[in-house]
């Protein structure tokens, strides 16, 4: 068994919260640059240029890419041969979020009592933590500060098996159409297909961690991603909904087996400020 100090987890989370908030991923920057070349709307082109300029300023000045520094969504892939010492793992993650959001001057957006008092917890805790046990003796920590403008446009549909592939395409295109400019397009569209209701939603969120330049390795799924992307970009919504051909940069779908009676489809939208950073301990 390999021992990992809880304090190392705290430091990693604190650092990743900040890095993710200030530095847009290279894959997204390249996709925005490419979209700037192909966008037909002059206003859309202009906006894409401003988003790239925003990313440059954020990195240089260590200013958050977006004032909505999000809910801290933390993924832990815990090697089964690791052993966390010196404290509770979840407490360590929470402390990392507290530290990272304070040190980075990130906005604290979490409220307790969501349907009544809605009191700000003032340190952006608690985070949302997803854990997975994996082979090996390493601990992979991923932090995704998830803004609510796009998160609010999420959907889950329990389709009928007979709805099939076309049912999925229609659902996603309709969801993006209804969302319009609200989720801050150009988007990355995370899809979770199969499993159960909650598993599909988690797959959709995890799909957003995949590079926008990488299609699903399964050719059938990659084909579905490509077709949805083309249809979504045919909607005309464009950058920030001002009209144009760049409504989404990528569709990332993750698929798993499901029940004979089910076809769960979860949609998790990611704004252009697609923030996630990871490290391995």
């Amino acid at each position: 068994m390999r021992e990992i100090e809880a304090s190392a987890v705290t430091q990693a989370v604190a650092q990743l919260c900040q890095q993710a908030s200030f530095e847009l991923g290279e894959d997204v920057i390249s996709a925005l640059e490419q979209a700037q070349q192909t966008e037909e709307s002059s206003l859309g082109k202009e906006v894409l240029g401003q988003l790239l300029e925003n990313a440059r300023i954020a990195k240089e000045e260590r200013l958050p890419l977006c004032q909505d520094c999000g809910t801290a969504v933390v993924f832990l892939e815990i090697g089964q041969e690791t052993y966390v010492i010196g404290g509770d793992l979840y407490d360590a993650v929470e402390e990392g979020v507290r530290l990272g959001y304070a040190q980075g001057y990130l906005r604290k957006s979490i409220v307790s009592q969501p349907f009544s008092a809605r009191i700000n917890t003032k340190d952006n805790t608690p985070p949302v933590i997803h854990t997975e046990i994996v082979p090996g003796d390493q601990l992979k920590v991923t932090v995704m500060p998830k803004g609510s403008g796009a998160e609010n446009m999420s959907q889950l549909a329990m389709l009928k098996p007979s709805d099939g592939r076309q049912g999925i395409i229609d659902l996603v295109v309709r969801a993006v159409d209804e969302a319009g400019g609200n989720p801050c397009p150009p988007l990355i569209i995370g899809l979770g297909i199969g499993g159960t209701a909650e598993k599909a939603m988690l797959l959709a969120k995890k799909a957003l961690l995949r590079s926008v330049a990488k299609p699903n390795p399964d050719p059938e799924i990659a084909e579905l991603e490509k077709e949805i992307l083309a249809q979504v970009n045919g909607l005309g919504i464009g950058p920030l909904g001002f009209g144009g051909r760049t409504t989404a940069l990528a569709v990332n779908a993750e698929v798993m087996p499901t029940h004979i009676a089910s076809l769960p489809v979860a949609i998790n939208l990611q704004c252009h400020s697609a923030r996630h950073k990871e490290t391995i301990l």
Partner: protein, 183 residues
């Protein structure tokens, strides 16, 4: 491109047609969800408001905290649609312009036409860029709301685009119709 000064004179909105780029200078006030609820409650009760709404501009924004050497942190717009339920009331009470992101409800569009106001969209998710146009910040009310407190901002050439005008036009509708295509 039109340069406008806020507070905004009534006749200025006549020139602000959908798609026009504007650069705003002067004073604007921030207001998000909780702030809107309080402002409308204050109007309902006939209480004194934290500032005179007449001709003013609301910016749907809650910034990230400023570092010690900064005026403000990241400062981009939030989704305007969540304010729709309160907006007609505030327009009727004197608000002349709103800055945010995303489309508005039919009720808001009607109020914009009826009371001669304007909805300006700015660049969602470009908070670092937009912060560069903000020169001074002062908390004027509802400090307990944290990032949702009302801030008075002095802005210089703050960029936006006319999204809903007094003529009933809509940038989001027009833009989409122009670029919509079936594969």
């Amino acid at each position: 491109m039109i340069n406008i000064t806020s507070p905004i004179e009534a006749e200025v909105v006549e020139k602000l047609t959908v798609g026009t780029r504007v650069l705003i200078s002067g004073v604007i006030y921030t207001a998000r969800d909780a702030t809107h609820r309080r402002l409308v409650q204050a109007l309902d009760r006939g209480d004194k408001l934290p500032f005179d709404l007449n001709g003013q501009t609301l910016y749907y924004m809650g910034p990230s905290p400023a570092r010690p050497n900064q005026v403000i942190g990241s400062a981009g717009p939030t989704t305007s649609g969540r304010m729709d339920i309160y907006t007609p009331r505030l327009i009727a009470a004197g608000i002349r312009a709103m800055i945010g992101k995303g489309k508005r409800s039919p009720e808001v569009k009607k109020a914009i036409q009826k009371y001669k106001a304007v909805y300006l969209a700015t660049i969602g998710g470009a908070g670092a860029l937009l912060a560069q146009s903000i020169e001074q910040v002062e908390v004027i009310a509802y400090e307990d709301l944290g990032t949702e407190a009302i801030l008075r901002l002095n802005v210089e050439n703050f960029p936006a685009i006319v999204a809903n005008d007094i003529y009933g036009e809509d940038l989001f509708y027009q833009g989409k119709a122009k670029y919509q295509r079936r594969e």
